[in-house]
């Protein structure tokens, strides 16, 4: 940075942060929150939907359209990563022989530890996803944990799982796009059944797992989308790492 640019940077930073501080000190004191919207939502969630987690009801029902946008932000970013990391002509791929050699390097024990971890993690994921409307958690967190399960297994078992995954990436891609499409379909379901986009068209139930109508369904769709999306990104990054090795 030249001195002139440094002055611009420092003055800009001071003005921006100073302005922000000046602004926030005009806000009500911490803990004195009173927003009309939030209060209404917190009171209405349980009677409206028989679901107990008002955050999830907000995200998947009152503001389901935001979440549709959010799912597509994720979906698009995966497509973006695939586009940006695509193989250009002349860039050498990784041949099958090296892949097999890599596979063999993964020791038996780490493989077993990995597999032993996968089972419980998948169960945990399923639990988190389907209880989303009742307790903290939901499709989003569950999806990431599933991704984490598979990714960490692969770190333990060297590249084994991720390589398999890369080779079958069209499956992950399909799971991911099925999640995104599924969430949009839930919106269309409302339109078809009740005539309003994202109207909650499934029976709300009274208590337990099958409450919230479309919310558990939405959670599953989001879980597929998020887990698939992150898995695609990680696998793609991993593939990048391997691509450079033999060149």
């Amino acid at each position: 940075m030249t001195p002139g640019r440094r002055v611009v940077a420092i003055v800009g930073l001071a003005l921006l942060v100073g302005g922000l501080v000046w602004g926030v000190t005009g806000l009500y004191g911490f803990g004195r929150y009173h927003a009309a919207y939030g209060r209404l939502v917190a009171r209405a969630a349980v009677p409206d939907r028989s679901a107990t987690n008002s955050v999830v009801v907000t995200a998947f029902d009152y503001r389901a359209f935001d979440t549709l946008g959010e799912e597509f932000i994720l979906f698009v970013s995966v497509i973006g990563v695939l586009v940006l990391l695509r193989r250009l002509r002349g860039e050498r791929g990784r041949d099958e022989a090296t892949a097999a050699a890599e596979d063999r390097r993964a020791s038996e024990s780490t493989r077993w530890i990995g597999l032993a971890l996968v089972g419980p993690l998948v169960v945990l994921t399923a639990y988190i996803v389907v209880h989303g409307q009742l307790t903290p958690g939901g499709g989003f967190q569950g999806g990431v944990i599933l991704m984490g399960a598979i990714a960490f297994v692969s770190v333990g078992g060297e590249s084994m799982v991720l390589l398999r995954l890369r080779r079958t990436s069209s499956w992950v891609e399909m799971v991911e796009s099925a999640g995104a499409a599924g969430f949009a379909m839930i919106g269309f379901g409302g339109l078809i059944v009740t005539g309003v986009f994202f109207e909650n068209f499934i029976s709300k139930g009274t208590s337990g797992l099958l409450t919230g109508g479309m919310i558990p369904l939405a959670n599953v769709a989001v879980g597929l989308e998020v887990g698939g999306a992150l898995l695609m990104v990680i696998a793609e990054m991993f593939d990048q790492r391997l691509r450079g090795r033999q060149s």
Partner: protein
């Protein structure tokens, strides 16, 4: 003292912004962006906090208890997704740029100037 969380949010924004301005490494720059993002989480959640409020999840508490704001929490969930996407996309660009230029220094990537 009652505005301390808001000040922390402003501080995180400033720190991240300073990092972005002065960064010589795109990976560093991306992490600075996640620090700036932390500022948005802190501000969103702290404006929705109620003293002695409970989490807005009525599984174990009566429906008339004082709870914190569920809306800002739903917004923050979206924000978290945005964090993951921003990091993923930028890293993909940086990995390609490194292949192309052999460096991850933003100041060395100035093919377009003037």
């Amino acid at each position: 003292m009652s505005v301390y969380p808001y000040i922390v949010a402003a501080w995180l924004l400033g720190a991240g912004l300073y990092g972005v301005m002065s960064s010589r490494n795109y990976v560093h720059l991306i992490i600075c962006l996640t620090v700036m993002q932390a500022s948005t989480y802190v501000l969103l959640l702290s404006v929705g906090y109620v003293s002695h409020g409970k989490a807005p999840i009525f599984a174990d508490i009566p429906t008339n208890s004082t709870v914190v704001d569920p809306v800002v929490q739903a917004l923050s969930l979206t924000d978290v997704v945005v964090e993951a996407t921003v990091v993923a996309l930028l890293l993909a660009l940086v990995v390609q740029a490194n292949k192309r230029f052999g460096t991850v220094d933003p100041n060395a990537m100035t093919r377009m100037r003037g």
